[in-house]
């Protein structure tokens, strides 16, 4: 097996050029898919037989919840890679993705609360699912706080890598919370092994908006990583060329 891709990914310069080519396209295709999915879900998908139109909140709630967990998975893996291989790109990834993850987690929490009010009869309940997602949000906030407050940047990188890896334990708890314990929250909408328990005209727009938010966040992650690369590699000659090339 060839490890060249691994080494390339570890090179800030190679990544910067890769992201210059792809970030905008990925971001824009995310915007387009997200809009298609949301308009479809809001205006064309049928209402739910029990919940009526409040069900349409699902088209942002589920994508945000998926993204919040995916971002953390990436963050944890990057933390592991940094602690073992000291790869330069790993802390850049962590620092860039943490604010994105925090905000999608916030969207999942807020949309869930607004959805819960008419459906369950309450904005919030301390059940295992809601609490574990709140913990996920707080983990992101912890990563952001450490990155912003520690003067020693090398120490900060190590500290957030450790939080990232340890916080991975929370992901299976979120996923299985609805099965291990009695919760108010319903089980997963999308499962890898089964067909979703809703008709196609309901889940297809949901799939599209999920994919759209994925690309939206991926594009922004690349953009933020580029910024971080420029900041950290400011002493290398290629950054100077890159910055002066386009004029000011």
């Amino acid at each position: 097996m060839s490890w060249t891709w691994f080494h390339k990914l570890g090179s800030p310069k190679w990544f910067f050029q890769f992201a210059s080519r792809w970030s905008l396209g990925v971001f824009l295709s995310g915007v387009v898919l997200l809009l298609i999915g949301l308009v479809w879900g809001l205006a064309f998908a049928p209402e739910d037989y029990q919940q009526g139109n409040s069900f349409r909140i699902i088209y942002i709630h589920v994508p945000a919840a998926i993204l919040a967990q995916s971002c953390y998975l990436g963050l944890g893996v990057a933390g592991f890679v940094f602690l073992v291989w000291q790869m330069k790109m790993a802390p850049i990834f962590i620092k860039s993705v943490a604010p994105l993850g925090a905000l999608v987690a916030l969207i999942a929490l807020v949309s869930g609360a607004i959805w819960g009010k008419p459906t369950w009869g309450t904005w919030w309940v301390w059940d295992a699912r809601l609490t574990s997602v709140l913990v996920l949000f707080l983990l992101y906030m912890g990563v952001i706080a450490i990155q912003n407050s520690l003067e020693d940047k090398i120490l900060a990188d190590k500290a957030v890598a450790v939080i990232g890896v340890v916080g991975l334990i929370n992901l299976p708890i979120i996923k299985y919370s609805v099965e291990w314990w009695n919760t108010l929250h319903q089980p997963a909408t999308f499962k890898l092994t089964e067909k979703p328990a809703m008709p196609m005209e309901m889940w297809l727009p949901l799939l599209i908006s999920s994919l759209g938010l994925y690309l939206f966040i991926a594009g922004l992650a690349m953009l933020r990583m580029q910024t971080e690369v420029l900041n950290r590699e400011r002493r290398s000659s290629w950054v100077k060329e890159e910055v002066l090339k386009n004029g000011i």
Binding site: A43, H61, W115, F216, Q226
Partner: protein, 58 residues
């Protein structure tokens, strides 16, 4: 279209407030993070360019 008219669409049955406030808040958050990411990159580039030019002039 799942609705008979545009005003039905805005009303969302009895759930207009819940649906539209969710999408409003989410839209603002997503727009804000995209704008901030973009601005931050521009700003860092500008700062670095200034510094490199200053160094060249010395």
């Amino acid at each position: 279209m799942a609705f008979d008219s545009f005003s039905d669409f805005l009303q969302m049955g009895r759930h207009g407030f819940y649906v539209w406030s969710t999408y409003g808040i989410s839209g603002v958050i997503l727009f804000a993070i995209a704008w901030q990411s973009w601005q931050q990159k521009k700003q860092v580039k500008r700062q670095l360019a200034k510094r490199f030019i200053r160094e060249q002039e010395k």
